[in-house]
Symmetry: C2
Subunit: 310 residues, 2 copies
Amino acid sequence: MNEIKIFCPATIANLSCGFDVLGLCLDTAGDEMIIKKSNTKGVRINKIVGADLPLETENNVAGVSLLAMLEEVEADFGFEIEIYKNIKAGSGIGSSAASSAGAVFGANELLGKPFTRKELIKFAMQGEKLASGNAHADNVAPALLGGFTLVRSSNPLDVIRIESPEELFATVIHPQIELKTSDARSVLKKTVSLKSAITQWGNVGGLVAGLYTKDYDLIGRSLHDEIIEPIRSLLIPGFNLIKNSALENGALGAGISGSGPSIFSLCRGNEIAQKIAAGMGKIYDDLDVPYEIHVSKINPDGIKIISTNP
Amino acid sequence: MNEIKIFCPATIANLSCGFDVLGLCLDTAGDEMIIKKSNTKGVRINKIVGADLPLETENNVAGVSLLAMLEEVEADFGFEIEIYKNIKAGSGIGSSAASSAGAVFGANELLGKPFTRKELIKFAMQGEKLASGNAHADNVAPALLGGFTLVRSSNPLDVIRIESPEELFATVIHPQIELKTSDARSVLKKTVSLKSAITQWGNVGGLVAGLYTKDYDLIGRSLHDEIIEPIRSLLIPGFNLIKNSALENGALGAGISGSGPSIFSLCRGNEIAQKIAAGMGKIYDDLDVPYEIHVSKINPDGIKIISTNP
């Protein structure tokens, strides 16, 4: 195989009560990447379409992720990368993660798969470190593994993949405003009340149980964030209106995607997901906030191969 | 049925990272109760063997639990209760819960089962309120349902039962010292760092995932308590020695049972559980601390019927 074209999905991290630990993979929103073998060793980003991002390998999340991987495996050829961005940077649905995870996934295929998908996570985390200063797995784990992922521990890294109930759909609305991750992070308090923390870990337990038992009601009852959402949601225009609209239209729960500004909801079935999308859109229409909406089932596979050239 | 004799199991609450939400049911440690129909309406505690506890119905946890139940169901007869205590009060393995849950379970059987086991929890919680001032379900839920229980929320009550992996065994050592629940509670801090809270809910997610997937290693990796144990363990003699000994002898994890002073460990298989028990015992022998030890598989059924009289 000399060339591979892949789909690199968007992801939702900081899933409600599962702040910093729970994420999921989307199916209809994502980038495409083409990765080719080259006679010249090393990694080159040849083309980025749809976003104004650095082409220098060391300044590009895809580049640094792949360089991290190449420290652990011998390659007798080089890599040329083209990135076709659809996920907007700063949207809160894992734009940098899609590129970081895509680069190592594609190169791993060209190398004959020396690493499992799970083993690729730690390399892609280096792209996240470049993007946000923090080598976290919240988005690269679901992008690589699909379904839901629980990052039980970051150090040492311990990621558990959890199958999604089949009928679970996500609706994500991205208000086209700028919300810097650093700002979203700076509003967080360093301490929380023990009472709220207990509520939160009860809900994390409930959400994980709901996923394993495919109990949609339990998933809904558990999708509450006592700690982060009340603070961060103040930075997102119309957050409460959007969330309430989603719940009124049948969402199991709703919350901030990643560090925002995107807002997600989960529901049972495509029909309700579309209805939620329409309701969310109307609110931002009324508020004159420009937006994008994604409706997607949960992607069970993660990154997918679109085509290969021998 | 005019009379029922039941086994009322001991339970472990505050299971490591699952403080205030996760508990489990033991199989070999527990009380017995006999509950009889009586021509005289109302509830009488006729006999308590093995403990110095109040016989007045309103001052007895079994009595108040049953009275709470009788507010929601019509009974054209009364109840006479005998309690044979084996679980020591203040041991941290659910002594009051066994009596509270036992009373409502037994009476429910005599009444022809108007309530499910899950519905009985809220009545038994009134016994806990009498015992500790706090109507919690941490012990009565696993006593009634068996296996593991997650109290996702106390208000409204939302309890999820989780099947135990079959080979999971508990070893519990009870140092015969007095540790008041109020003291164990007063040492807790009212706030925790966000970082520790995230670690904790990552572990709760991991523990629940490990139980559903019967992944003993994941259960072990998740059995950490960043928040309560470092503080409360200071009240328990030789806690670190006992815990380290359990881990050295093959425990998946260990921690404080309930609010102490009992210390539990979980492991795979009876053989390792016995080895852990021997190691724990030796440490308290050396420290001259009197103790009791229980080795038990996880009880999948909760309270069991020993015999009935028609």
